[in-house]
Amino acid sequence: MSRKKLSRRQFVAATAMSSAALITAPYVRSANAAGKLNIGFWDHWVPGANKASTDLVNEWAAKEKVEVTIDYIPSQGNKNLLTIAAEAQAKSGHDILAMPTWWPHAQADLLEPMNDVVEALIKQNGDVNGTVKYLGKAGDKWLAVPACIGSQIKGPCSRIDLMKQHAGIDVQAMYPAGQEPKADAWTTDNFLKAAEACHKGGVPFGIGLGETSDSVDTVGAFFLAFGAEVVNAKGDVVVKNDNVRQVLEYYKKLMSFLPSDAPAWDDGSNNRWLVSGKGALIMNPPSAWAVAKRDAPQIAEQCWTHGFPVGPKGRFAPYLPYFWTAWNFGKNKPAAKSLLTHLSQPAAVEKCVAASGGYDLPAFEKLTTLKTWAEESPPKGTLYHYPNPHNHQKLSISAAGAPPKVAQQIYTQATLTKMCVRYYRGEAMDKTLSWAQSELEGFMRS
C-alpha cells in the first residue's frame, strides 16, 4: 500500500483553505439560519415574563437547530444603555439586542436594515403607529423590529372611587370595558378641575416633575395636546411660540394641585403614590396596578387604566416602544432575523402579553385587541383601554416632531419638565423661554 507524502507547501495550502472555509461560513448549516445566536433581551419587571420569551426562543431554536444564549439586561441603573454603548464601541456583542425608544436612531449607522422583516410583519399583523415609524425608521430603512416586550403606554391609571367622590367623574363610564370611549368631556380643562378637586380632597394626582422618564412622558403629552412645539421637523428651534406659553401657563396651574415634592419624584414615586392610596390618579403602565394587586388588593380593585384628556390640538398618550435590533457587525444575521420574525407572530405576541399581565404592547394594529386586556382583573376590564384599542388617542413620545437625535437630547435632559418647573417657581416666561432656546440650540450638535 503506497502512502502519498504530504509536502510542506501542500500542508500549508490545505490548512489555509480549511481556515478560510471555517471563517467565511462559520455558522451556516442551512439556507435559512443555524449556528449560534447570542441574544440580549430587556429584563422584564414582571415576574415570569422572561420565562415566556425564553420558551419562545427555545421553541424556535429547537426547530432551527440553533444554539442560543440569552442575557436578560436590566434597565435599572441604565445597564441596558451601558451595554448598547459598550457594544457599539467594541463593534462586538449580542446578535440581537433590545433597545428602548431613541436608541435605534442613536446607533443607526451600526444597525442591520430590517426592512425585509418589518415589511412582512406589517403585511401580516397590520400597520404600526406613527411613533414606531418615527423611532424605528430612518428614511426608508427600518433600523429595528418593533418589540412587544417592554413597549408601553403611560396613560392615566385612576382610582374609580376617589375620582367619583372628589371630582364627580365616573372613569368606568367614560372608558367602558369592551366599548368605545365616551370621553368627549375628558378635556385638559376638566382634567385640571379634577386635579384641583382631588387636591382639595387630600388625594392629589401623582404626577412627577422630575427628570426621569415618567415625568418627561407626561409633560410631553400635554405639550403635544397644546400643539407646543419646541423644535420643528426641520430642526429649527421654535420654542418662543404662543402654544408653548399656553402649556406653561396650564402646567403652572396643574402643578399647584400636585404634591409639593413632585420635582423630586423618580419613576418609582408615582407607583408608590398609587399603591399607598395617597392619590387619585397617576400616569403609568399597569405595573403600578400589578404591584397594588399583590400588595394592596383593595386599592387594585379601584384602579382603572384609560386615555389621556384631549387638549386644543388633540389627544396624545405617551407611548414608549422597545425595539429588537441586530448589529451590522453581528455574526449570524439570518438567524437573528428568523428569530425576530418568530417572536412577532400573533401566537408569540399573545403569550408575551399574557405573561406580562397585559403590560407588553405589540406595535401592530391587528394585535391590540387580545383577550388578556379584556379579561385582566380586578376589576374586570381594568386594562381594556390600555392598548388604545379604538385608536382614541394618538400615541406619541415627548418631544416628537423634532429630528430624533435632537428629540433624544430634549427627552434625556428633561428640558420640557425643567421649563415647567422653572416657570412654576416664579421665573419670568421670557426668561424660561430664553433658557430653553439656549439649551435647545445646544442639542443641535451633529
Binding site: W103, E211, S260, A264, S446
Partner: protein, 312 residues
C-alpha cells in the same frame, strides 16, 4: 596587528563578564527588585487606567457621531453652555464643602477616640469606620429612603415635634445639602482614621514640654498637634478632594442631578450626556474637565508638602 587582534578578542569576554556582573548587581539592587515586584501592578494600572484615560482623551476630540476630529471643539462648546458652568460651580461647592467638613469632623472625632483608654478604643474605631466600609451605593439607598420625597423618615420624626416637612431632594438648596451631608457621612471616617494614626505618632514629650511651658489646650493643638499633622492633613485633603470631585454614586442615587440640574457634578453630568444622551465625546469632555482642576489643587498641596519636607 596580531597583538591588537588578540587584545580585541580578549576584551570581548571581559565585557560580557562585566555585563553579567552588572545585570547580577542590578538584580540584587533593592530598587530593581522593588520595580519588578510592582511591575504587575504597573501593567494592570496601564491597562485599566492609563489606556482608558488616553482613550477618553481621544474620544473628547471627536464630534457627536464620532466620525470627525474636532480638536478642542467639544470644550469650546461646553464653555458656551449655562448648565456646564452650573455643574462646575456645583462640583466645587460639593467637593470643597464636603472635604472641609469631613476634615473637621475627622479631626474632632480622632481626638475623642485618641483620648479613649486603649482598652475600649478598638471597639470605637471599628464602629466609627462602618460608614466608610459599607459600599456607598448601598448606604446611599438607605439615605434615599430617609430623604424620600413623600415618605421621608426624617420628616416623620420632624412632624412628631411639630416641624414642617423638609423637601430634602426637591428644593435646590436642600438637595445640595443632602448630597453633601451623605458624602460627609461616608467620608469622615477616612479622615478620622488617618488623623488618629497621625495623632498616635506625635511624641508625648512634645506635649509634656508644651505643658511645662504653660501651653493651654488650644496652644497645644495649634503649636504641637497641627504642625506635626500638617503633611498627613495635606495628603488626606488632596486624596479626598480627588475622590469627592470624581464622586458619582451618591449624587446619582439620591437626586440624579436634579432638581433643575442643581446637584449635578462632573461625573453624573458626564453620564447623563454621554450614556443617557448618547453623546459620548461630549460626556468624555465633561469628565476630563476635572483633570485641570484637580491638577492645580495637587500642585498647590504637594508643593507645600515638598517645602516642609525640605525645611525638615
Amino acid at each position: 596587528m596580531v597583538d591588537v587582534a588578540v587584545e580585541r578578542n580578549s576584551a570581548a569576554p571581559a565585557q560580557k563578564a562585566r555585563k553579567r556582573v552588572t545585570l547580577r548587581t542590578a538584580l540584587k539592587r533593592k530598587s530593581t527588585a522593588a520595580f519588578l515586584m510592582t511591575l504587575p501592578l504597573i501593567l494592570l494600572i496601564s491597562l485599566l487606567v492609563i489606556y482608558p484615560a488616553f482613550y477618553s482623551l481621544h474620544l473628547a476630540t471627536l464630534n457627536k457621531s464620532m466620525q470627525r476630529f474636532v480638536g478642542l471643539g467639544n470644550f469650546q462648546f461646553l464653555f458656551t453652555r449655562e448648565t456646564f458652568w452650573l455643574v462646575v460651580q456645583q462640583s466645587c461647592i460639593f467637593a470643597i464643602t464636603a472635604v472641609i467638613f469631613k476634615a473637621l469632623i475627622g479631626f474632632i472625632v480622632a481626638h475623642f477616640v485618641h483620648n479613649i483608654p486603649a482598652k475600649g478604643q478598638r471597639k470605637w474605631r471599628g464602629m466609627l469606620l462602618v460608614p466608610w466600609v459599607i459600599p456607598p451605593a448601598m448606604s446611599t439607598l438607605a439615605w434615599l429612603w430617609l430623604f424620600d420625597p413623600s415618605y421621608s423618615a426624617f420628616n416623620y420624626l420632624l412632624a412628631g415635634v411639630g416641624v414642617d416637612r423638609i423637601p430634602w431632594t426637591g428644593e435646590t438648596g436642600w438637595a445640595r445639602f443632602s448630597v453633601i451631608l451623605v458624602n460627609i457621612w461616608v467620608g469622615a471616617p477616612f479622615f478620622m482614621i488617618m488623623y488618629l494614626a497621625s495623632l498616635k505618632s506625635v511624641p508625648d514629650q512634645l506635649y509634656e514640654a508644651a505643658a511645662i511651658d504653660g501651653a493651654n489646650w488650644w496652644q497645644r493643638i495649634w503649636y504641637v498637634t497641627l504642625p506635626m499633622m500638617r503633611n498627613i492633613i495635606a495628603i488626606t485633603t488632596l486624596f479626598s478632594l480627588i475622590v469627592t470631585f470624581a464622586n458619582f454614586d451618591i449624587v446619582r442615587i439620591l437626586t440624579a442631578g436634579g432638581p433643575l440640574d442643581h446637584t449635578h457634578i462632573f461625573a453624573t453630568w458626564a453620564f447623563r450626556i454621554g450614556i443617557e444622551g448618547g453623546d459620548i465625546p461630549l460626556g468624555a469632555s465633561v469628565s476630563l474637565f476635572m483633570i485641570p482642576i484637580l491638577a492645580i489643587a495637587a500642585v498647590f498641596i504637594l508643593r507645600d508638602i515638598n517645602k516642609r519636607g525640605n525645611e525638615a
